[in-house]
Each structure stands twice: as C-alpha cells, then as structure tokens.
Subunit: 248 residues, 2 copies
C-alpha cells in the first residue's frame, strides 16, 4: 500500500519524505529507541526508489533524529530537532583572541608531577609528569594582557627553546610535531579579584576585577594534553564569540 507524499511547491521527493518521517517521529509513532521501517519497506510504502529513501534518511540523521546501524536497522534517537547553536573557531588559537604578536613570554619553567593544589583547581587526577611554563602574554615591551600558567604533558611537550620562539599555540605544535591533535577542549570562564602576587607582573592593582579562564585540552582517547590557566585584568580583555544557528 503506497502513501502519497505531500508535494508542497515542487520540493524534491526526498525532502517531502524526510518531512513526512519527521512528522511521524514527532508524533511518537516510532518512539525514541524504536526502529524505523527498513529502507526497503519505506521504498514500497512511499513508492520511491531506495536512493530517494536514503537521501531522506540522511537528512534526518544529520538533524540528529535517527541513528543508522548496518545490519541492525535505523533507530529513532530524538523526537524533534532542537535549535542548535554552534560557535565555530578557526582553530585552537582562536580560543583566546590575542593579537598575533601577543606571544607568551616565559618567566619560570619547571618539570615534575602535578601539584595536588593545581590538580584540584583543574579538577583532574594528580600524578603524571608535566612541564610547567609560567609567563605573561602580550606584545614585548608593552603592558601584558594576561598572566598564564600552562601545564604540558611531559612526554609530548616541546623543548623549552621551542616554546620561547613559538608564536602559535603549544597544542598546535603538539598536533603537528607529535601527532597528537586536540580533540576536545573544556573551558571555564569566571571573574575574580587580582591577588597581590598576580598584580605585580601584570602591572595592575591588587583587588582589581579580572577575567579568569581555565582550559583542559584532551586528545581523542580522553588523555590530557595540556592544562592552562590565565588571568586577564578587567579592562584589558574581552572574550567575544559568535554563535550561529545550525542548519536543521
């Protein structure tokens, strides 16, 4: 028994079919966790070719409504597509939007296991060798923009000299030179007052409001690549982002 597809204003068949299926899913006919009819069945039901069915299912899969498993079938994973917004960054460097010449100028470096206090602040387990670089970020000779602490997993960390020369980000160097690309970044942004210890190298007043960012970089397997902690005195930095609605 074949069903006619709404052909609203000359939309392609696969779109009309996708819309029909979306409506059925929204109505809960194949509820979440249940299987959609097979491709073959959909071909017969709607009187279209398999290619057309697959194009329709591709749309639904892109929208996150269904998941497909060879040999097993097509399962409904969401009843309706929510409006998704994404922030798109060109790369890790865009995370904090420093001027290109605002390099990290190391003040101290040290190797060793992660301090208990540092591990707790980042919410990660202690242990493991890390290479710690503390420094300021800014154009050489000018008032610095930020005070930064970076902890890099020791087995993949660049040599000290490299970090000093390095214009770009440490994680991009690790991706290209060590073959360990960053797969996930977790970032926390908060506000807090500058401590005396922080104020001095930044040439700022203690107690002044500051933006704090803490980031964890992970590889594909969930192992930590690096941790970073930055403090930006209030008026010197704004974090701007643009979020676009995703195509549905």
């Amino acid at each position: 028994m074949t069903v006619m597809l709404e052909n609203a204003s000359g939309a392609p068949r696969y779109m009309a079919l996708a819309e029909a299926l979306r409506a059925r899913i929204a109505g809960g006919d194949p509820a979440i966790g249940e299987l959609l009819p097979t491709e073959h069945a959909l071909c017969e039901t709607y009187g279209v070719s398999r290619h057309t069915v697959r194009e329709a299912l591709r749309l639904l899969a892109e929208a996150g409504l269904i998941a497909r498993r060879r040999g097993a079938g097509t399962v409904v994973v969401a009843a309706e597509a929510r409006a998704h917004f994404t922030q798109r960054l060109g790369g890790v460097d865009d995370l904090m939007q420093y001027a290109r010449d605002a390099k990290l100028q190391p003040r101290h470096t040290r190797s060793g296991p992660l301090d208990a206090a540092v591990a707790r602040a980042f919410g990660v387990a202690t242990g493991g060798e890390f290479f710690h670089v503390a420094g300021v970020r800014g154009r050489p000779g000018e008032t610095p923009i930020a005070l930064t602490d970076v902890y890099i997993r020791a087995d993949i960390a660049p040599p000290v000299e490299t970090i000093v020369e390095m214009g770009g980000s440490v994680t991009e160097w690790i991706a290209s030179e060590r073959g360990v690309p960053t797969a996930r970044i977790e970032q926390s942004i908060s506000a807090g007052a500058l401590t005396e210890r922080e104020a001095e190298p930044l040439d700022a007043e203690p107690g002044e409001a500051a933006l704090r960012t803490r980031r964890r970089y992970y590889d594909k397997g969930g192992r930590i690549i690096a941790l970073s902690d930055s403090v930006h005195p209030g008026e010197r930095f704004t974090y701007d982002m643009v979020l676009m609605r995703e195509a549905e």
Copy 2:
C-alpha cells in the same frame, strides 16, 4: 585516460576519490577560486560512476573545501581543511547555564527608543522601539545570581505578564509565538567591578569582581531581536563550555 585510485586498506572508492581530490586541491592544482573538473569529467578520469563522484564531492563540500553551483560548476573555496572546533549548545537557553528554576524577576519595565548610551554600549544604531525589562535572575527567595537588562524589539515583544510567567528564554518565545527564530548570537564576556547601583539588588559589595555578559540576538535578515546585559558577582557564576574538534 583513467587514473587508478589508491585503495588503501579497503576504503570505499568515494573516500579514496575524495582523498585524491583533497590532495590535488592542497597542492593548488585547482587553486582557490578555480573550478574543479565537472562531475562527468571526474567520472571518466577516475573510472567511477557519477554517484561515486558525487559522494566524494559531498565529503569535500562538507569539509568546506568546495562550493557547488548548479549550472556553473564546482569551485574551490579553501585549500585545506583547518581544524575547526565547535561549541554545541542545545538551545538559546544553554547560553548561560542557569538552573532551570532561576527565573528572571522583573523589577522595572519600560517602552521606548533605545537610549544613546545603551546603543553605544551594545555597539548598535539608536532608534527603533524597544521594550526594556530590568530585573534579577535567581531562585525566588534566594540570593540572586545575576542582574539583567533585556531590550526586546517592541513589535515582537511578549506582553509583560508573559515575561513574568515565562520560565524559558524570551527569544525562544519569540521564535515560536512570533515566528522569528534567532539566527545569530553575538556574545561578549568581560570582567569588571560591581558599581554601587548594581551591588545593592544583588546583595553584594561594591567593587567586587563580576562577570559581565552582553549579547545581541539577530534574526535571519540581520535585524536585532533583542539585546541583553547581565552582571554576575564573581564567585556566584562560572561559564563553562566544551569545544569539540569537528569531523573533517
């Protein structure tokens, strides 16, 4: 003259073809702005069917390397896919991660054109009628999390009573009730000290560090839907985000 495709470890042909084309583009053979061979030509060159060619081109288009225009051809728009990171939000509500019951409690409302000072602060043009709601956000009866000012374009703003009842976000109401979905959000995050005027309703100390977020909501046509400005006392709020590397 047909070219053999690398068939590394049983990868599908369309992937092998996509890889071959990606390599050519990376090498600058069809440079940015130039046209790729037509689908028909690629079929002959690589000895595959048109469907296979189209699957390969679809991959490259998804990676942002090429753009396709019916009747005109396939143009190269980027030489290599950069590592992109995206922050995925479930919806507008996820932008600021308030607890679900942290509603906006209006203290003042007013209608009229945008103040010159407000327009300057947001970096938008003056003029146009807006509905202004000022209030605090938090669980009723508890210390508020934030002080918020929202400016909603008057012609699509909800009635006052609705805003008070409304649990969710104003922009989602506008999307569903007025048919004007948000297409783009611009957000700025900075740190600054609390003013006396801000400290009082927040039950905080003047001069305390605070996180300030300013957002502009735009519709598809680039018209402003709403503007919002929030101040979060330092220790009461952290903005967390997770960025995932995009599939290439």
